[in-house]
Symmetry: C2
Subunit: 284 residues, 2 copies
């Protein structure tokens, strides 16, 4: 296949756009998709401080790299969650799947650190495949509250939630991997061993089957939802947030999910907060 | 496995309900599910006249049989669509897939005949698998107008649409097949050859994969939608119907989909109506 822009030999084919790109024009395409995401959702301004949630995988490293290249003030933060006593105990004692507990802990901790560090926005490396799979799961169970909220941008809330953005939501998993390879970024290739066979990965496989039969399936599922269906759910879901009675972080209930999880795991004597913060390492 | 009711050997296992039934109690379960569907959606009253859309397959024959056993005034009508010049031409000349053209023609014709024959309601044999697959397709493309309307009951409209009901929507494909076998109903086992590999069948296969991993997936998808998600779409979709300029049947546009299809197929000199009615055979 030839590059859609310059007719040189293409390195990366993108079937859903019926396009292919050489190295130079793929990197340009990638940056343009990130620019478009930031622009369309007004994710952040050039002078704002960005905290990138870094896992060490292709998505978060590609995101951090591209934001810096686009001139943004982006710091990366890695949280050592998922390997120490905390998450072993969570996995053993809570009634949640480990992925759910891990995600909850990370979201909670990132929000807390971003707020305390004066960051304007948290950026995560969620790509199109992640977003389509999450959407698929929310649809299969018709979790209408999640459907009302799932978005490339979640605005800050006065209750204490820092603004969150997903600048890679227009790019597929294959494309973020290609970006890292072409940029020489050395990323952790293996999936988290705890995540093998989880629901999200099952949904990703199903969507990949559909994508093979009809290129663009994931794109249409996600973008059709954001453009046409989500407004219906948003119109009907005005759940207000308020401070958690235990830790003061925002929640829709009396006690936030994080404190409830910590309580179930039997880890918190006074406040759940001490545990995750002990596992945080600021990288940069 | 033992029958959940009488502990005899079970003939039919129903994993999503974690149940099994002997012949007697399966037939009782089947009738109860149909009763519950009719009751919950107030589909029709004992004195109303029902026109059953009969294809010769397991679903429509099971439906006709069970409605008569429950004491309803149900006539079956078979339309010889799908084998003659009309649908050959449709398949060759329209831009729709043949299944879509066939369904459109049948819906149109049944409505016309039911209205002229003074029937109160049209019943179709759509089962849970059909409804879940249609829902899945509507979600993958976020067809919000279809999502607002897809229902086990569609009320009559003053514009001329006869009430339509799907009394088998609580029962799976396997269960309607089992009903026919246990009742000795000789049905057309082969799928329509035109439908092989169509989208709906692809979606059914995917849902069957998910169902194997998590029994109840289809049930939760469909019932969760009807109970929790559809109200959002209904609230935002008040498209009124009015008479088609060509044939007078109800439509949301100026010319109805059926007349537009007939026009594209180059079959209608004056009114599309003449064609399908020629292919109708009243069975009973």
């Amino acid at each position: 296949m030839k590059c859609t822009v310059c007719r040189e030999t293409a390195s990366v084919e993108i079937r859903r756009h019926n396009s292919g790109f050489c190295k130079t024009h793929f990197l340009e395409y990638f940056e343009n998709q990130v620019r478009k995401a930031i622009h369309d959702y007004r994710m952040f301004q050039p002078d704002e401080r960005i905290l990138v949630a870094v896992s060490g995988g292709k998505d978060s490293l590609a995101l951090w790299d591209v934001l810096l290249r686009l001139g943004y003030r982006a710091d990366g933060l890695y949280i050592g969650l998922g390997i120490d006593e905390y998450s072993d105990s969570s996995a053993a004692k809570t009634r949640r799947a480990p992925c759910s507990a891990c995600g909850l802990g990370k979201r909670y901790t990132f929000n807390r650190i971003a707020a305390e560090g004066g960051y304007d926005v948290i950026c995560t490396g969620h790509n199109m495949d992640d977003e389509a799979a999450a959407l698929f799961g929310n649809v299969m169970h018709w979790q209408t509250d999640y459907l009302a909220r799932q978005s490339p941008l979640m605005e800050a809330e006065s209750s204490g939630l820092v603004r969150k953005a997903k600048p890679l939501y227009r790019l597929s998993e294959r494309e973020t991997a290609a970006y890292c390879v072409l940029r020489g970024i050395d990323y952790q290739v293996e999936e988290c061993p705890m995540a093998l066979g989880n629901k999200t990965n099952q949904y990703k496989e199903l969507l990949n089957q559909l994508e093979l039969q009809s290129p663009g399936t994931k794109h249409h599922l996600l973008f059709g939802f954001l453009e046409r269906a989500q407004p219906f759910f948003r119109a009907g879901d005005p759940t207000p947030l308020r401070p958690c009675e235990r830790c003061g972080e925002p929640t829709s209930g009396e006690v936030c999910s994080f404190c409830r999880m910590i309580e179930r795991a039997g880890l918190a004597k006074t406040q759940g907060l001490d545990i995750p913060l002990a596992a945080v390492e600021a990288d940069r």
